[in-house]
């Protein structure tokens, strides 16, 4: 259901403006969600898979998103195991920290490989961790409430 919501949002944003897609790190959010539920090993493997799919649909060096999402999945699973990240504010900070870290890692890797400054200053890219964290924490709360009300989904 979460995936459907995310995908519908993606299509809606694409219809309004292509630039708006840059506001949301949808793949990152999916990786965090599954890593929180299944642990760091699953998170790392799932992150690697998602990242490589993302790389396959992008122009550039294959493996950059894969590497950053592997580390993202691992960290998400590891932190979620040590700290309870379900309270809304903590959940928001948790997602913001992870996506900010992934963004930084991806930017560093890309600029290191391409040996040039990334075009992120005048685009929505720099806002991506914040907007995704806001949307993600709201989505996770809603999903938690739906599962609480429907025991079959637990």
């Amino acid at each position: 259901m979460g995936l459907t919501i995310v995908f519908l949002l993606y299509l809606a944003l694409k219809t309004i403006s292509f630039s708006l897609i840059q506001l949301f790190n949808i793949f990152g959010l999916i990786v965090i969600y599954f890593a929180m539920r299944r642990g760091e090993i699953f998170g790392a493997c799932f992150g690697a898979g998602c990242g490589l799919i993302q790389d396959a649909f992008s122009l550039g060096v294959f493996g950059v998103a894969g590497l950053s999402k592997t580390i993202l999945g691992f960290l998400a699973g590891y932190i979620a195991k040590k700290i309870d990240v379900t309270p809304p504010v903590r959940n928001f900070l948790f997602i913001l920290f992870l996506l900010g870290f992934e963004f930084l890692l991806w930017a560093l890797l890309s600029s290191f490989i391409f040996s040039q400054k990334l075009f992120i200053g005048k685009t929505f890219y720099s806002l991506q961790p914040l907007t995704t964290a806001i949307f993600g924490s709201i989505l996770f709360i809603l999903l938690g409430k739906i599962k609480y009300l429907s025991p079959d989904l637990r």
Partner: protein, 277 residues
């Protein structure tokens, strides 16, 4: 397995995954053509993406169809009027063309072109930068191959097909990609240069000497055909600023004619520049 390895199992898996991907990255630097692994992943997952997009598009079509039926009569009247004016416009244009070229030669060229235009829908964007590339729903089965030219619905240049080309999907490099290059000239003064993307939805015109003072704001740029990829005469964009710099060349910004927000659908030109001439 020793105890310390069991305790560090997850860390070991992370290290292995990171190592594999570092190897993958290092194999591609400096960046060349797509490797086989990337091609395989693209081929496996592009039909899934295609299927999902088609599914949601069908749902959207059903919903839109409902509203469409509600206003069918009104729409029909509007469309008839539109067709009438378009026919008139078409007739006038044909007459104008006829006066410029021999009718027989022109008709041959038009019919040849018509058979080689393939309409395609955009089914995916580039996650690293939306202004670099898009994925379209036509592939090798439809006759799409590398370096075919892609235009928007108004005939403005969008980009070219690059690898990998899957059976029913292919990737299009946009002219707004910093790694793209299109040989162009200005329509007014025939000044030649190379248009490349700036990665932010705009383009830059390169290699115009700073001694050149003929190129002005609002000048139209069209393809020159000298690159051997893009046929001659396709509208590319409009010069929006010419800045004098201390370097050898001008800093010229170009706004591409194609509208990113209304890019879908696009036309793939299944004809090579040499065949067009």
């Amino acid at each position: 397995m020793p105890l310390f390895l069991k305790e560090r199992k997850s860390l070991l898996i992370l290290i292995v995954l990171v190592f594999i991907q570092l190897v993958l990255i290092s194999l591609q630097v400096p960046l060349e053509d797509n490797n086989y692994f990337e091609r395989a992943i693209f081929s496996v997952f592009s039909p899934i993406q295609h299927g999902l997009v088609s599914f949601f598009q069908k749902i959207g079509n059903i919903w839109n169809g409902y509203f469409y039926l509600k206003d069918l009569k009104k729409n029909n009247t509007n469309l008839r009027e539109e067709i009438f004016s378009l026919k008139q416009e078409n007739d006038l244009l044909r007459k104008a063309l006829n006066s410029l070229q021999e009718e027989r030669v022109m008709m041959e060229k038009l019919s040849n072109l018509d058979q080689n235009i393939l309409a395609a829908r955009i089914i995916g964007l580039d996650y690293s930068n939306v202004y670099k590339s898009v994925i379209i729903n036509k592939g090798s089965l439809d006759g799409v191959e590398k370096n075919l030219v892609v235009l928007d619905k108004h005939g403005h240049l969008v980009g070219r097909v690059i690898g990998p080309v899957a059976i029913k999907e292919s990737r299009v490099q946009l002219i707004t990609d910093p790694e793209s290059g299109v040989s162009v000239y200005s329509q007014a003064d025939r000044i030649q240069g190379i248009v490349s993307g700036d990665g932010r939805g705009r383009c830059v015109l390169k290699y115009i000497l700073s001694t050149n003072e003929e190129l002005k704001k609002s000048d139209s740029l069209i393809t020159s055909g000298f690159d051997g990829i893009f046929p001659r005469g396709i509208p590319v964009g409009e010069v929006i600023s010419v800045v004098q710099t201390t370097s050898l060349f001008h800093d010229i910004r170009v706004k591409p004619y194609f509208d990113f927000r209304h890019l879908d659908p696009v036309a793939v030109l299944k004809i090579h520049p040499t065949d067009m001439d």
